[in-house]
Amino acid sequence: MAVGIVGYGVYIPKSRIKREEIAKVWGGRGKGENAVLNENEDIITMAIEASVNAFEHSGLADVKEIDAIYLGTDSPPNIEHSSIGVIAQTLGARQDIEVMDFTTSTRAGIAALKACVDAVKAGRIKYGLVIASDYRPASPGSNMEMFFGGGAGAFIVGSKNTIADLEEVYSYSGNFRDNWRGQADTYVKDYEPRFTRQYGYSEYVLNSVRGLLSKTGLTIDQFQHIVFQQPDARLPIEMARKLKATPEQTKAGSIFDDIGDTGAACLFIGLSSVFDRAVLGNRVLAVSYGSGTSDALYLTVRKPIEKARKRCKPYQSYLASNSYIDYPQYLMGKGVLKKDEEPASLGVSPLSPFMWRASAELYRLIGAKCLNCGYVNFPPSQRKICIRCGNTEFKEVIFSRRGKIHTFCVNYYMPPGFESPLPIIIADLDDGVRHRALGTEMIPEEIKIDMPIELVLRKLASENNVDLYGNVFRPIRIK
């Protein structure tokens, strides 16, 4: 049974920092740019946006068709506690699905993909959602700060209507340490690159590719597209040269200069960029690497990719939607630069039973539509009597995520812990539901009544290292 990718999607954060901005502060030379996260983003919020895109691209009718969610990340917010809970609730997945976390390596995404393909092949699941989302912490002034970026990619894996099939995999691993982050470490560490590039990345990548070629009897020139793990600008070029691949073959999947080293998400985003332009019959080689392990994957592009293209939000559209920030803004986004003050304590802790009762409807935006007058009551856990007509019978509805601003304000005086200026938006969604939420990625002077907006999940606050998430409005980013 051929198993492969039924739908794919990426998410690239809007903020970009030019590497020369970093070089201005710390010296050195910087070419290219990194995609970086705002303070209210993390690997969970990125994973959700990429997943929504992948689901829409797949053409599946209902999220409930998904039987598994596998997440690969090298930077989970918690060492103990899965990030999949928030993701699954926001997507509206079933609860009897298989969930698995893959981590501690920049190849965590590919490990998750392999496991998911196997689960479909074994017949245990029909459709699986595999997400790779990463934004690894780099110390200010380190080599890695110049390179690390954030992003996410997601694949719906299945056996019907695949846009690309995973034909063969070859893995090569050993005991090698180039990057690491201990439990007490805030930032990723690295060892002497002149040593680790040669005996780490190069050694494992070349061995996995050569192993795959030998296993399949293919030669490198038979692949139209090659995507390498991209920890810097140089190594993938070196690999291509050593493998006698042409720059043409690596072009579509090269993302490092645009968004940086996105760790576990790198190959997902690189592959998505390849799929954006690949055609029927193309062979694609994808090569992962993380601390002494490399997987070489051989995929072939299938016919459904053509029809699915109109449902796609291409990688290039995310690249085009950007906003450049300076070094202090970048540090604020990482939470490194902040005022020395205690944020206001939340009325309800993110750990409270309140959030347990309310999270599903708050993340997914589920309303209770009155069967008598049609008014959509929200949140349904608190509204058992229609506030408009007093009826007590309802139908569950899921809110449209797009709409137009009805009215708004921008508050310039927020207490500690809040973004300031803070837009507060009251909008009428496309389905007629009125919703109120904070705004993000908005320029205060540009907010107008009737402006089209969309709802996205963001981190609202943290208490006791537990994050509070909620939907916020942003201007529609990718049409």
Binding site: E341, P343, A344, S345, L346, G347, V348, P350, F354, M355, A358, L362, F378, P379, I387, H406, T407, F408, C409, V410, N411, Y412, Y413, M414, P415, P416, G417, F418, L422, I424, I426, R434, H435, R436, L438, P444, I449, L460, A461, L468, G470, N471
Partner: protein, 402 residues
Amino acid sequence: MGWNKIAIVGVGIIKFGELFDKDWEVMVEEAYLNTISNVDKGFNPKDIQAAWIADCRPGAHGTQTIAGVSLVGNIGLAGIPCTHIENGCPTGSDGFRNACLGVASGVYDVALVLGAEKMRDKSTAEMLSLAAQGHPVLQRGETAMTMFAPQAMRHMHEFGTTKEQMAMVAVKNHRNGVYDPYSHYRYEITIEDVFKSPMVCSPLNLLDCCPQTDGAAAAIICRADLAEKYTDKPVYVAGFGMGTDTFYVHEKEDFTEFVASVRAAKQAYSMAGIEPKDIDVAEVHDCFSITEIINYEDLGFCKKGEGGKFIEQGKSDLDGEVAVNPSGGLMSKGHPLGATGIAQIAELFWQLREDVRNSNGTGDPSVNEKRQAKIKNGYGLQHNVGGRGISNSVVTILTRNK
């Protein structure tokens, strides 16, 4: 003929402001003493049979975690029943309403209602941190400003109301406040001053907003037929109403009005048997400049959408169609939540008796005279609106007509 079952026989206010040197208890005592000494024919505290204390956020703002005893226990009246009322921005006026209901029930003849709020024992940052309270997602970031500013945006969008018109409200109320000895601020401002003041919450600048103020105010009420024991010039309660609306902002239907106010006003006018045009003087809730403009419409002083023109044409000036906020309003006098409504009632008591010059305050009588409104029909209207989601409002109509 109005309801008129209750008479106000004495009122008292303390000088509002940043009273860093006064405990909550001291504010309460002062307001109480100012009230009983203000009764024309003298007053024996033993006549008070029940009391109501209005204080909106005692836990959040100050040292009190309040029960009724916090009032009577501090002014030597421990022993009589006392109830604590909390009801958002209309806390004071709802305390007054409940005291009226208590006396009108026939159980008590004379009652004291006292409102007090300590707003400045916490830093501004601590006060603003209320934005982290309430529903952690649906009310995230919600402060008073973020509830009223979107109304301004929508009102401007639908009716062409301008920032100049909003600023005119601030200018008028500051002008009136100069002559109110109890006012927190006593200086005039210009439209340009409003525009130049920092943007606080778009479209509202700092001078579109009322300040954070400490204060206390009280009133003594009695059965209307007993009023002559205390004064020959009582002011009667002609009617009152309280309206509510839904709780969350997303549940609101119309962002150009406060439906709670419309409902409260309807009840009050009906109970008083009068129409908006009969009102000579009004003390309305101008927590923000836009609020007063919308109040003109909600209270029936003008048609919906014409609030901006109403201020622009001077119709709410001291010598206009209806003198609105002769005290300087919340904007000038301040808005100590629990005290606000009762202070408005005190102002109307003096206005309707045409004796603002004799208000027992700290002011210069010749200056006080400059804020006396023309009293033709003998009716005054008090109004508050607020609460989370701007979901409740109290309107009280007072009259000097027996």
